[in-house]
């Protein structure tokens, strides 16, 4: 599904990614761990097209297509989704307005007919139920006045509505207490399927107790320095990143 080959990227004049290689197949969950500054969030940003980063070498193929050539909205249309580390507040735009615009933009990209207000609401209400989202969510402005936990759950809710093929979760556990983290993890686990892949970026092992990965990669100074199974996360927890 996703093939990253020798990816180099920099922010301003600073090299952050220095040759990432990673293959992700449908149904797999890959955890990417690493200390602060190792390039985890940069990788998420490069994959989704944030313009703060410039790619200097390497390529990224998503279902055989060159992902790096696409605008962020095209990547979303192709089925790439980023759950933000810091979800953005958009006062003045309601969640329902935003989500419908989003769903229909993605459907349009895929050549599917747009959803009218009624069918959209039906889809959304059903997903809200599964994720235990509060009733008034749709009327509220996007992320405005949300608690940290609510923001992260809203990311997972959007993910559920958009049904992407590749989900990238950028430090989704950061700033969450254990209950909020469990709620988010339950939401993510409900979306696991044999056709959908996930990249879970995290600093701490604790999220991986709840979202159990198939592979764990350790990122250090812009390179993947170690790859293993879910046990690797426990080792890191015990010995720290410097124990490598």
């Amino acid at each position: 599904m996703l093939t990253i080959h020798n990816l180099h990227a920099k922010v301003a004049d600073k090299d952050i990614l220095r040759g990432i290689n990673l293959t992700v197949n449908p149904g797999e969950v890959h955890a990417i761990m690493g200390p602060n500054g190792s390039g985890k969030s940069t990788l998420a940003g490069v994959l989704t097209g944030r313009d703060a980063y410039s790619v200097t070498d390497g390529e990224v193929l998503f279902e055989g297509k060159n992902l790096l050539d696409m605008a962020p909205e095209e990547r979303a249309g192709e089925g790439v989704f980023l759950a933000f580390q810091y979800p953005v507040e958009i006062p003045g735009v309601s969640n329902s307005y935003f989500l419908r615009a989003s769903v229909n933009a993605v459907r349009k990209h895929r050549g599917e007919p747009e959803l009218d207000a009624a069918s959209f609401l039906k889809v959304v209400k059903q997903k809200m139920k599964v994720l235990h989202m509060p009733e008034d969510l749709l009327k509220r402005p996007v992320n405005e006045g949300f608690s940290g936990g609510e923001k992260k759950r809203n990311e997972i809710f959007q993910m559920a509505v958009l049904e992407p093929k590749l989900c990238i979760l950028d430090e989704t556990d950061s700033g969450l207490d254990i209950d909020a983290m469990k709620a988010v993890a339950d939401g993510v686990n409900a979306l696991r399927s044999k056709d959908r892949a996930m990249i879970v970026i995290t600093h701490y092992q604790r999220l991986l107790d709840h979202i159990v990965p198939d592979f764990v990669h350790v990122l250090s100074q812009g390179r993947i320095v170690k790859t293993g199974g879910k046990g690797l996360a426990l080792e890191l927890e015990a010995h720290g990143y410097s124990g490598n």
Binding site: T48, G49, R50, D51, A71, P72, E73, R75, A76, G77, F81, L82, F84, P87, V88, I90, P91, G92, V93, Y97, F98, A101, S102, V103, A105, V106, H109, Q158, L162
Partner: protein
């Protein structure tokens, strides 16, 4: 001075600043008024005799008053040179097709009352053409002594919209006043006039709408008297053609316990100057003076507001928001006077501007003159651009860049849009922006 967030070409001039803006016409001191005065004689041949004396007085005032120049503080960023360089004609009587009215409306085409396009007024309201109604308040509210354009409007006073809501009469349905300009080849000038009088404890909602095609000059004056305990909701939708000039003076006088709300929606026009002046003439009155201006291309939109707290215990709330794209130029000048005896005044003013391009310009200036000592007055101005983080967030959810920009622009304007109580106008604005 409170928050002034400067980005793009935003300028926030402190009061009394002597910085001179570059590129503005500045040599208009001896401007010629004949462009307008030479139309007097022809106008009088067709005009109603009802306002003959009033026109004469106004013409004398117009002759005596200097035209505004960019050397004066109040017109510093807006040059009226194009108005003097364009040869305007009096408009011809034309008939235009118009969709049937959904509610009560008064239609004026090329300055003339179009009875056939108008629809019946609600029960209990005296309304129609100024040519047919004796209204003692005409020219009593709008000040001609310091505004040449108001004097010019009165110099051509013959027809116009008159709405008198008697004491205690509550009108639920909004009344729409439509002014249309249809030049036939040559540029034309009209002087639309509105008189709205709400009696004691009366209630009414009035929409003032300006439309047109081609090159023309609309010099409008609106006089509104809000009686004791009366509630007036006023919406002005300025959708002039993109080659039109629009200068408007909307003047409101408020009696005790009156409640007035105005939404000034400025959407069209090449050169636009909206003046809104509210005067509190009784205690415990409340005025909400909001505006939204959208400008693109080379549009120039100047909003000039004056809130005169002449009496104690009154409240005014003012929010103006502007969205400027391309090379558009916006001006906001918000004056608030709190007179010596106007204790317990509560005045709040906000001007926020969204610059969608590096070439758009805004000049914004709050101007508070407070002579009472027990008052609450706040003002703030912010100038910003679309946030890159918000744009990326929307795009990462599949929303194309252009749509994301429109969505965020709508989000910016939304708190003004949401305050407009008339649903059809909210929908119209949403359609326009998104």
């Amino acid at each position: 001075m409170s928050a002034a967030n400067l980005r793009g070409h935003g300028r926030h001039y402190p009061e009394g600043s002597l910085r001179s803006p570059a590129g503005l016409e500045d040599n208009l001191i001896d401007m010629d008024k004949t462009n307008f005065t030479n139309l007097f004689a022809a106008f009088d041949r067709e005009a109603s005799s009802r306002y003959c004396a009033l026109r004469q007085t106004a013409r004398e005032r117009f002759a005596a008053l200097p035209l505004p120049t960019t050397r004066g503080e109040d017109w510093r960023f807006t040059s009226i040179a194009p108005l003097l360089e364009t040869p305007f004609d009096l408009p011809a009587a034309v008939s235009v097709p118009l969709p049937p009215a959904v509610g009560p409306r008064l239609v004026f085409v090329n300055g003339r009352y179009a009875k056939g396009l108008s629809s019946p007024m609600p029960n209990g309201v005296r309304a129609g053409s100024l040519a047919d109604i004796d209204a003692i308040q005409i020219s009593q509210i709008a000040s001609e002594t310091d505004s040449p354009f108001t004097a010019l409007n009165s110099s051509f006073l013959s027809d116009g919209a008159c709405i008198i809501v008697p004491d205690g009469v509550v009108v639920e349905t909004p009344i729409e006043i439509l002014f249309m300009s249809r030049p036939n080849g040559k540029p034309i000038v009209t002087h639309p006039r509105v008189l709205l009088v709400a009696g004691k404890n009366a209630q009414a909602t009035v929409i003032e709408r300006y439309l047109g095609d081609g090159v023309y000059f609309t010099n409008a004056v609106t006089e509104i008297a809000v009686g004791e305990g009366a509630v007036v909701d006023h919406v002005k939708v300025q959708s002039e053609s993109d080659t039109a000039y629009h200068i408007a003076n909307t003047q409101i006088v408020m009696a005790a316990k009156a409640n007035f709300t105005s939404h000034n929606l400025s959407l069209g026009g090449a050169l636009v100057r909206n003046e809104v002046r509210v005067r509190f003439d009784g205690e415990h009155a409340e005025a909400t003076v909001n505006g939204l201006y959208l400008a693109k291309g080379k549009q120039h939109v100047d909003n000039f507001t004056v809130i005169d707290h002449a009496k104690p215990n009154c409240a005014s709330h003012e929010i103006y928001k502007g969205v400027l794209a391309d090379r558009a130029h916006g001006v906001f000048n918000g004056k608030i006077f709190v007179r010596k005896d106007a204790q317990k005044t509560d005045a709040k003013q906000t001007n926020k501007v969204l610059l969608l391009s590096d070439d758009a310009t805004i000049n914004t200036k709050p101007q508070l003159e407070i002579f009472a000592d027990d008052v609450k007055c706040t003002h703030g101005a912010t100038i910003g651009q679309l946030a890159a983080t918000q744009l990326f967030y929307l795009r990462s959810r599949g929303i194309p860049l252009e749509q994301a920009r429109r969505l965020l622009t709508f989000a910016f304007a939304n708190d003004i849009v949401n305050r407009v109580k008339i649903e059809s106008i909210r929908a119209e604005l949403e359609e326009r922006i998104v």
